[in-house]
Point group: C2
Chain length 348, copies 2
């Protein structure tokens, strides 16, 4: 089976079996640690170096954007919808949250990155994002800062500042950006009063109407990376599943053809990485183009465009109550001190 | 005497008396606490609220810029020269550091703000900076966030979210952004080996050739605010003092007429707020237009344009060694968690 067939089979399977009892077998609390690539183990020094790079605007061509500019760690790890205007650029896709991204199998709305390491490299060179041109520009810029050279040598040994190690350091920091212990997590681990009665009804509804067919797994975003994962091109789904609703035009949902724009494969038209739902109440606006500001409206749209389910206001409110229970505990992050070259700036 | 006359008299006075022995009487370590307005005492809760606002991009019209975007607390508290391109805008003046700004008498390159509170208001509305239009827009935006409403009420009582209180909270956070205990501070407090022999020669030279005539006081930026301060329009000086050098054109130093652009008073042509020198090694590029990338070059230019002193490479290196000794100890800053409205963004 190809990926789309796997996906379709999963959908059918989940819809057939979607009952609350079943759901409790498949629902998962956030694991203590994300899976880490064998060649990039997490160390505290590497994570600290990665944090500096994450907050360093010198990683963008015009020195105005750091990773944190669009993945704001003081907020939901996203851009609050502002990325479309950052640095005067018009981005056509919304910046998803970096929190718990370590639990995603593939990354980017079109699933083009197979790992956080790949995603970092992709964004550094993407003309719409950090726009650094070629890898060598990034390496030279970072290597020109004595404080970075020293740290890379300490963390990576003689290989020091190179393209792979830059992405490894940032990815390592990102693997520390997890938000465990949400009310939902506490609930499925046995603390019955951790979520409200409305949220419980919302969880049942979420399961019964079939949301779980795509939004399953640790992040409610399909399978998480792991030794058993072999998803080929990754996990993606149709959105809108049913075209022709009033939302297509209202929110400009079908102009961007998603993965098709990358592959030009007709089977990939309107196929999108299933976004995670953890901390979804903090990551408005919604959908690939960030066109929908309200979570209530987003749930209503999803019911109609994906499942032909015209949910009542009360049903939507209950599902939203469940989704709000997915807000986890954010890590305390000390602002790094960026290494600087005394008496000069790299910016000029 | 008007301010300019005061300034000229001070210059003469300082030049006449400029000797190392005299310098040690006037040189000051950073005081433990900055002077605080009677109506805005520092409290930890107010500073925490101000920190959230400082890091919140919702304070800008297009939701892309926070105070921290141009006054990067992970670096020198400045913009590394990038502000001219932030948010796609072309700013004509460089963003000075916010660290130790609490020890400046007036603020902004043209001295238009009499306090941090005024400066905050100015920047929030400045079309070239946060561009929020009118005060009411800021108040409404902040007041629409439940977590802000609660905190303002806790900190300010019933008056809660209003224009004055927003500026007071941010100014209070800024008063915590001090960098004490630089090698220079340790040195003048008696620790003789805190700075190098070259830095000591540089300090003597800095005093002898007359740099102290403008760069005196706690921040080497003229008088600090205090009960005895009555500077009227504030402390500013001519730059370039001597026009006609090769630098005028090379670094476009005389196109911007400084305070004159604000007052249209001919006596204010090329008059500028004397910038502070603390952490100067971390705040390249230099001068009001950020046109000079290197501290070495900046010192050379200052010698020629201000004092007709054509310093040798060694003299410049010694002054730079002294200036590098002004880098203080930066506070540890925990990234705030910004209050959010669940399931919606203010950005749309």
């Amino acid at each position: 089976m190809n990926t789309r067939q796997v996906s379709a089979a999963l959908t059918l399977f989940c819809l057939l079996l979607a009952t609350p009892a079943w759901a409790f077998d498949i629902l998962q609390a956030l694991p203590k640690e994300p899976i880490t690539p064998a060649d990039n183990p997490v160390t505290s020094e590497k994570a600290e170096l990665g944090k500096q790079l994450f907050f360093d605007p010198r990683l963008s061509a015009d020195n105005t954007l750091s990773c944190n500019s669009c993945h704001n760690l003081a907020a939901g790890g996203d851009d609050d919808g502002a990325a479309t205007r950052l640095s005067g650029k018009k981005l056509h896709r919304s910046a998803p949250t970096v929190f718990n991204a370590a639990y995603m199998s593939r990354l980017n709305w079109d699933t083009r990155a197979a790992s956080l390491e790949e995603q970092v490299k992709d964004h550094l060179l993407d003309p719409q994002v950090m726009a650094m041109g070629v890898a060598e520009n990034v390496v030279q810029k970072i290597a020109s800062v004595p404080g970075y050279r020293q740290q890379f040598k300490k963390v990576f040994g003689e290989s020091a500042v190179n393209w792979d190690n830059i992405s490894k350091a940032i990815a390592t920091f990102e693997r520390t950006l997890t938000t465990p212990n949400s009310p939902f997590d506490q609930f499925i681990q046995g603390k019955d009063n951790a979520i409200s009665a409305a949220a419980k009804r919302g969880l049942n509804l979420f399961t019964e109407i079939g949301c779980l067919s795509c939004h399953f797994g640790v992040n409610f975003a399909g399978p998480a990376p792991g030794p058993a994962l072999n998803m080929g091109d990754g996990f993606y789904e149709l959105f809108p599943n049913f075209v022709g609703t009033r939302y297509d035009e209202k929110y400009d949902l079908i102009a961007d053809l998603g993965r098709y724009a990358l592959t030009l494969d007709n089977g990939h038209k309107r196929m999108w990485r299933v976004p995670q739902l953890r901390n979804i109440a903090l990551t408005a606006p919604y959908f690939h183009n960030g066109s929908v500001n309200s979570l209530v409206e987003a749930v209503k749209i999803m019911g109609i465009t994906q499942l032909k389910a015209d949910l009542s206001d009360q049903e939507i409110a209950e599902i939203v109550a469940f989704l709000e229970s997915l807000t986890g505990q954010f890590p305390t992050i000390t602002l790094p001190r960026l290494p600087e070259t005394l008496g000069v700036t790299l910016v000029k």
